[in-house]
Symmetry: C2
Subunit: 213 residues, 2 copies
DNA sequence: ACCGTAGCACTAACCGTTAGCGTTTAAAAA
DNA sequence: TTTTTAAACGCTAACGGTTAGTGCTACGGT
């Protein structure tokens, strides 16, 4: 029960990678819905049960490749430069993520996702989980003992920004536009955290204290 | 091809209702996952194929009962009192919807939904559709010819308010809190009525590369 | 009165997913 | 080293949601 480091791990990882690569190739060649689990398993030369011991579902074959999305967001909050405001850091990270998944190399994959209702649903439910993680990270950053409604709300908005920008005609502009709105929402609830003064309940007007570009 | 009003419609509606009632009863009695489609069909005394000609999926048996959610939101925008600002109208409607589904009478149903991942996913994807409809309604209200990013964003935020408030300890307070944030976001993009430049000139692309449907 | 069609039923299957059980083999314990 | 353990993998068979394919029946328009 110690660390099973060695050949075994490598073989397992290799099998997993082979399955993932085969699946993605077949999906892109013939379309997600036109390829069955049994096809993937046969082509990767593994049993169906083996495939499901590596991936929890068919959709996971597509998404579980780069699982660092969640980590990147929470680390953008936790590991940012000292005294850097929260929102600009998040905006930068979302910008990077959007750029990454609208790049030409990722385009076919995302087109496939957009065309399959099953994949869209799966991604949506992933995003909700990510939003909860982000909410916890934000709450921790503010030294809150629990995730408040405000934290959850802002986290949702940030995830929405990613989702909406990805579909926009001009993703980068969309991120800026949406974060402009998010920062306004952020200011009226919790600009505290120790640094600045709280905005009184009166209208904050068009004022934008936090920088954006 | 005229209006097929008559006995036929009544019979169809009766069959549909009988299926829905039977399904909900069985689900609440034995749990959603413990009841199969074949069970529902047998108990409602219809064939499985008949069931699926009335409902698109098992999850739809739970949610397609009150399908007016979407309509209530769009009408809250379109049919509000003249000169009433947009956000208060939406806030009122969301408040009513949240109250409705946190009422004691609805409690068992929503507990069932919360306990079943399949139902949660289904509801999430419904919410996305609702957000798109709401975005169109908002765009139309502002005399925009297309659904802009800002409209889509605000629509998402409003749907998020519903979703988050439903899970909050104090739903009504949560709605107010979240709408406070939404109104701040709204003000920085669309300062009162005028359909003004939410997108800097030069980028107002109407075309879309991805996203079918 | 007659015909088109909508509603419904039945069989049989497809597809994703899981359970049960056995085999290999790498790693840990002796 | 030898023995023991358990993880990875495989096979068969099945379950549950969903969908053709086909045909029957009865309602409704003409």
């Amino acid at each position: 029960m110690t660390v099973p480091s060695g050949r075994r791990e490598r073989k397992k990882a290799a099998t997993r990678q082979k399955i993932a690569d085969t699946a993605l190739r077949l999906f892109l060649e013939r379309g997600y819905d036109a390829v069955g689990i049994r096809d993937v398993a046969a082509e990767a030369d593994v049993a169906v049960t083996t495939l499901f011991s590596h991936f929890a579902s068919k959709e996971a074959l597509v998404f579980e490749q780069d699982g660092d999305f969640e980590q990147r967001l929470t680390q953008a909050v936790a590991c940012r430069a000292p005294h850097e405001p929260l929102m600009p850091a998040l905006r930068r990270e979302i910008q990077a993520l959007v750029r990454h998944c609208t790049a030409d190399s990722s385009a076919p994959i995302w087109r496939m996702v957009d065309e399959s209702p099953a994949l869209r649903e799966y991604e949506e439910s992933m995003r909700l989980r990510h939003a909860e993680s982000l909410a916890r990270a934000i709450a921790a950053d503010l030294d809150l003992s629990e995730t408040t409604t405000a934290c959850r709300t802002i986290a949702r908005f940030v995830i929405d920004a990613y989702s909406l920008a990805r579909e926009a005609a001009d993703p980068e502009t969309a991120v800026d536009e949406i974060f402009h709105m998010i920062e306004a929402a952020w200011e009226v609830t919790c600009p505290s955290g120790g640094a600045r003064g709280t905005v009184p309940p009166g209208k904050a007007g068009a004022g934008r204290a936090v920088t954006s570009r």
